[in-house]
Subunit: 526 residues, 2 copies
């Protein structure tokens, strides 16, 4: 048992002599063993059902119909070759169709239960079943100042800073690149530096993306250097590729497909990303948007498994929502929560590792609108049990802006969401009949300082990092701050002090000699 | 079918000629029939399960044990008389215990499926099954300025203003008194004016409370005048009594019991309110807090049904949460969401109308913390299908402060929550295979302006009232407002113009001649 429990149980008299409040304070100061934490990465969701089992079957069958009867346009020759060899058909209209049996066979042999590695093994993730992990993502083009609301172009330095902040956050479990390095107009420099800045900023699992296989090839050389050799990289690939292989509806993105093929060969897990937008590039009917996303990701799965059976691929159903009045994206809408939750459930149906998005807001700044939109999305998508929840922190303006300080605000929302995923413990002990009896019939008539209360204080309750729970008087006396102000202060402290160094400076020198790294070595705290 | 659908379906050629955006704008301007709205009061929840069926059974059995073996202290003579006549036992330790069969019989004969009336019948609620309604509540002692964060004492005028704002909000379905009239130190004046200001500010169903049966007796006279006679009041009682009959753990509140008895006799529905605080006045183990709340409300139900079988009573399990480090309440915590969701499910188990709380925040102001805490609570408690969700708008600082402008922010969160409760329509038409086929094989390759998109625009999608979905550029050009600023502007407009007059000025004069009404008639827009 934990030392915390041991302490509390071991000194009941002392506790009651000293009073509950003092005892609770002493207890709170003690470090908590990982297994005793109220929440941990990868807890099991599944208590929210956007779809009932019969709905899931219907969506599956409709997706099979779409693939068999409509199929994909714009397949590249290597894709056509691999997929037709597996049983796909190139139709007279040029579309590649996928017979139902091919899709079902591909699902059966698909890679599942693969670990997503961190550079530090303590961050390894096991995202299958109904286990839930939260991470960032995005390709925001602006950084938002949370106080002034000013937008400016995002740079490589921002990406590194964001990764460093994520590295410190308990409830953000992986880092996928969040922002476009607009100071690096050359696509090769952008691709290489995006991967570099991400991997150097955090030892958590990283997702990145590439626009050209040649860029990926050189990035692989860098990753092998970082890992200490290709064999070590292949044993623990700590970067996955976010790959938009499909331009919805149902067209292959040709350059992305070439990058996908290289990733599969290079042992890099692929996030098969279908990001249609309901009412624009996907049906406005939510069920139809899920059907299309599932069909598109199933096609990607057939493709990957035709290249290499069992290659690790994430079922990345990310349907987005349009505000149908304007056609603009609305990532903070309630319809988004339903779509992403439903997608999490579809991955369960196939027993695949599912990725989806949650936690985008339409607000430009981290105000109450942002908090609200992020939280109802997370509560439902997280409790649906989606395995990998992308875009979960920092994102503003429906993917157009990223706010570094919002990461800390969102970390609190994610911690709370995780607590709801953990759920209610309903053991005999937790039902508390004996505790109630003792308090009412022979005790003090309240539960403050009781043995049960002290024991559960840290193991059952989550506390916010920057959320404020003071009384109005205390809060006013201490400066009446809002959560943005507290986030700014804490972010500055993190950025000043936290520089993970996953590789040695010597290896970094070797990388810099071979590749145009644009993040100054002096900025990296060495 | 709706005129919206008829229009869209009736002019496909015109639509495609004019372009999707213009057609969408024209459509948006048309009024929408109530039945075609994407959300309506009283939609069915139940898709989130904080408790599994076996957990619910365990909690039920534990609650029966608590009532049979521990029982209640401090019963008043009339309570002892009624309950022992029904089968309860006064034990030698002075506690009133409730045999399991008595509790089960009381549940069987309890009032269920009773309407909660508005003064205006369009606001009548049918809160049973898994139907969900959101309303306010609270006894906040301060009004918060959302811009400066300043706290000041709440007054009767504030209560009237809050009721008026609630009267205009689509997603707040009932009004329970939110704030204490601190300008009325006399308890009689406070009770009468609290009821008066609430009922005059909104024609939605009202909840109020009384500290003394004498105050309630005179309030009944007022309500009969307002209704047009006692018979009309009894036919459509539009005020329910929020009654804290229990001081947790398991002690009767004597004055509240006297008010309860009068309400039951007077045809006023009673909210049987058990508001223990986990870790302080209820067990720290969440399951135990639910057990205690259920036991307490079951005792209230036995009491009410011993007085008058079938009298309308709301099963008001409102367990709150302590921050166990300080003992202070934490209404915005994730543990709160689990407790309230579980309580909603317990009421389903008994087929009773359940009331619980959701949407309190610990933040002192409507910042991102407030938005986040409110939203994850609402998303889970609402989707659990709790029937009457109190404290759902405006509340700050864990019940110590109320922010009028936050009502508008929270109305957006509630609208979004309601959209998630409505869920995903999975009909053949919604699965959209034919739409996908037509768009991909013979259409424009996108869904903007398609017949399906236009038809679903207003019937399937909810739009925020003050939430902003503009692009960063447009938002910046239009003043870069945060949601608080927009809420302030809109609140001022409502308060300036909206004065419901549920009664005539002549009736009001009669009431004022009999009772010390402290809200100036001049302030009421007559």
């Amino acid at each position: 048992m934990s030392s915390v429990q041991g302490n509390a149980a071991g000194r009941p008299e002392e506790t009651s002599r000293r009073g509950g409040r003092e005892a609770r304070r002493a207890l709170r100061a003690a470090p908590l063993a990982v297994n005793d934490r109220p929440v941990n990465p990868g807890m099991e969701g599944g208590r929210f059902q956007a779809l009932l089992p019969a709905d899931i079957e219907k969506i599956h069958r409709a997706a099979l119909d779409v693939l068999a009867e409509i199929g994909f346009a714009d397949a590249i020759p290597s894709c056509i070759e691999a997929v037709t060899a597996a049983g796909g058909k190139l139709e007279s209209n040029g579309r590649l169709t996928f017979p139902r049996s091919l899709v079902e066979d591909s699902v059966a042999k698909a890679g599942r239960h693969f670990v997503l590695h961190g550079q530090d093994p303590k961050h390894d993730m096991e995202p299958w079943g109904k286990r839930v992990y939260f991470g960032t993502a995005g390709a925001a083009v602006n950084i938002v100042d949370p106080v002034t609301g000013a937008y400016r172009e995002s740079q490589v330095r921002d990406l590194y800073d964001i990764a460093r902040v994520v590295d410190t956050l308990e409830h953000v479990h992986f880092f996928q690149r969040t922002t476009v390095c607009r100071d690096l107009p050359d696509p090769f420099e952008m691709d290489v530096n995006t991967c570099y800045a991400s991997v150097m900023g955090t030892t958590k699992h990283v997702g990145s993306s590439w626009v050209d296989p040649a860029h990926l090839k050189l990035s692989f050389e860098m990753l092998h250097l970082m890992a200490g050799g290709e064999d070590k990289w292949r044993a623990r690939p700590f970067v996955s590729q976010s790959n938009c292989f499909v331009v919805p509806p149902l067209k292959f993105a040709q350059d992305a497909c070439r990058c996908l093929e290289l990733a599969v060969r290079g042992g890099m897990p692929v996030l098969l990303l279908s990001a249609g937008q309901a009412g624009a590039t996907a049906p406005a009917a939510l069920a139809g948007a899920v059907v299309q996303a599932v069909a598109e990701c199933l096609a990607g799965l057939v493709y990957v498994n035709a290249l290499k059976p069992g290659a690790p691929a994430i079922f990345g159903t990310w349907p987005f929502v349009s505000d149908l009045r304007t056609g603009a994206m609305s990532g903070g809408s309630p319809e988004q929560a339903l779509l992403s939750a439903a997608c999490g459930q579809m991955a369960h149906f196939y027993d695949l590792t599912g990725g989806t998005s949650s936690g985008i807001t339409d607000s430009k700044i981290p105000d109450a609108q942002a908090g609200g939109e992020k939280a109802y999305n997370h509560a439902l998508v997280g409790n649906a049990g989606a395995n990998l929840i992308y875009e979960s922190a920092g994102m503003q303006a429906s993917l157009l802006g990223f706010c570094i300080e919002a990461l800390l605000i969102d970390n609190d929302i994610l911690g709370a969401t995780q607590r709801t995923i953990r759920g209610i413990d309903v053991t005999e002990e937790a039902l508390s009949v004996e505790t109630i009896r003792s308090i009412c019939l022979s005790g003090p008539g309240h539960y403050l300082g009781s043995e049960q209360t002290l024991r559960l204080m840290q193991r059952e309750y989550v506390y916010p990092e920057i959320g404020d729970r003071k009384s109005p008087n205390e809060w006013t006396e201490q400066g009446a701050t809002n959560i943005v102000q507290r986030a700014v202060t804490k972010t500055q402290a993190i950025l000043k002090s936290h520089h993970p160094h996953p590789i040695t400076r010597n290896i970094d020198d070797v990388i810099r000699a071979r590749l145009p790294i644009r993040l100054p070595q002096e900025a990296m705290g060495w």
